[in-house]
Symmetry: C2
Subunit: 362 residues, 2 copies
Amino acid sequence: MSAKKNKPEVKILFTNHVADAIDRAVGDMNPSSVHVLVDVNTEAFVLPLLQAESKVVAGASVIKVKAGEMFKNLDSLTSIWKQLGDGSANRNSLLINLGGGVITDMGAFAAATFKRGIRFINVPTTLLCAVDACVGGKTGINFNGLKNEVGMFRDADLAIISTLYFNTLTSQELLSGYAEMLKHALVCSTELTNKILAYDVTNYNPDTLLKLLEESVGVKQKYVAADYEDVGARHALNLGHTIGHAFESLALERKSPLPHGYAVAFGMVGALVLSRMKFNFPSDILNSYVGYVRRHYGAFEISCDDYSKLLGYMHHDKKNDCAEFVNFTLLKSPGEVEIKVPVNDDDITAALDIYRDLLGLP
Amino acid sequence: MSAKKNKPEVKILFTNHVADAIDRAVGDMNPSSVHVLVDVNTEAFVLPLLQAESKVVAGASVIKVKAGEMFKNLDSLTSIWKQLGDGSANRNSLLINLGGGVITDMGAFAAATFKRGIRFINVPTTLLCAVDACVGGKTGINFNGLKNEVGMFRDADLAIISTLYFNTLTSQELLSGYAEMLKHALVCSTELTNKILAYDVTNYNPDTLLKLLEESVGVKQKYVAADYEDVGARHALNLGHTIGHAFESLALERKSPLPHGYAVAFGMVGALVLSRMKFNFPSDILNSYVGYVRRHYGAFEISCDDYSKLLGYMHHDKKNDCAEFVNFTLLKSPGEVEIKVPVNDDDITAALDIYRDLLGLP
């Protein structure tokens, strides 16, 4: 019998031999039963590949939920718990989460709470999940109209990261994930920033991208290890998210949702402008970054008529508890992070003006 | 901002000045808001007392759920999450669980998962909860027809243990809680066993009982610290539970439920008989224990016609994974614990015969 330990570290394998990696790892873990969580997409496009190549997956019972952020909810969670129980899972069972961030967030929470915690492996099938959601221990569901309102911190026993299934992703999905790699580069070093800015993810090579992913996830792990429960240093990973979340909310209101990574990519333009204003962030890197965004992501269109709404969203973001200022994560230079920098509305407004200039908006 | 850390230790205050203890502790914790979870019983009988004496409780928002084991379920949990969110709880809020084991198990789980974990204080109002449920980190709800099917391990930030509210308990409720104190004594030492067997809880003095509680909870804490996630040494605390659970199931089938503590008290008679058979457990202590049970608990009536059912329940208990034997926690002597002792059906049957003899059953 072996219950899962809660500790802020996760074993990660970077490999494009996923079936082998699963069979070897699960052999070592020796669970009493194996259950694979999929959504309708990974059931159709990824599960059959793994069932053909992995003995473990071929013999596992399949737990299915609907696909998409709107099904990251209590009903799906309840259904996973029930399917585990009805499938005779016990404390020594194992859950494999096969999918994007919705699947790994929700599957991890289900496993971490089923019979007070069973072991689980994350196998991300999207770039966004591989670089972000599948590691770091944040699990949960949306509830009561709020994102991740219910959840906990718990690491996977293992994450198996590959680029094997990215051929089913659109360019937009690739770019959405790559925005988090841009972010990890910016909070790491000038060297990694230049390397990531020199790569075109829409035309990736599976092995090269896997190497870049390993470097990128390593950056996240460093911040997670320093501050597992996200009360300090880990806020570095919020770079671009304060303005980005406001852009996402505005886009939702316009009934034209913005993919999360795009929102972060655009939000980081604003954050780097503020970083230049407050901390003299190097202009050459700002310009290279803006060039990359314009080439690959285009621009999220805003006018000065949107400013008051955007400021409202930023002040109501859960990460800000002071009415007068909005707290930002900013950079002195790539890798030199300043968290909880209070910024007033005048400076945010100035940054939004410059954002529009830089991205060629009227 | 302060998220809760998960660590296998809990701060416990033993005091009959509960209101003072709450006000002082919560003052130090400095939460952004305080929420008190009650059921209809503690709302009626305990909450008004605390609201009159504690500034913190008087100013807290009240979260109410229905009373009883059958409402330790997903609906109640969902309702607590919703009431926390609607009451503007954030990551720096605090939940006070005021009630018996259902309230502390479920309230702890709700707090540990709301916004990935907020702080919580357990204030047990029953002896059973004070001596057992409110410490040790086991949280959860019943689900899919199974006890504690969903939950996690997470300690309260503080447990405030008093005997102040026990005057609302019946003798049966006191004795049900005291059975766990008998158990703690038996897995601790001959000295504590004799002390606990010499006390009549139905005629308790609040201060004396509080001292005994402190000693008793200390025993539990020792086993919990050695094996937080209950995969080894902590099984000591299962003493009496293997036969006890079978008695509970049989009583349920007879439509005449047996209080959990009574089942444990009777189950420990069987466990001590097996301990005498297997490990020569001292007969004088066995006899003293049986005398205490006969005087205070009476007997749970079984005949040899019930044996096959009882054996069936024991083999299906989740703690046993081997078909041929049932694993028991037994004692060589008080404090000398043997866990995972495989016992075959013949020996269990013999122990049930002796159980009937000792308790004067036909």
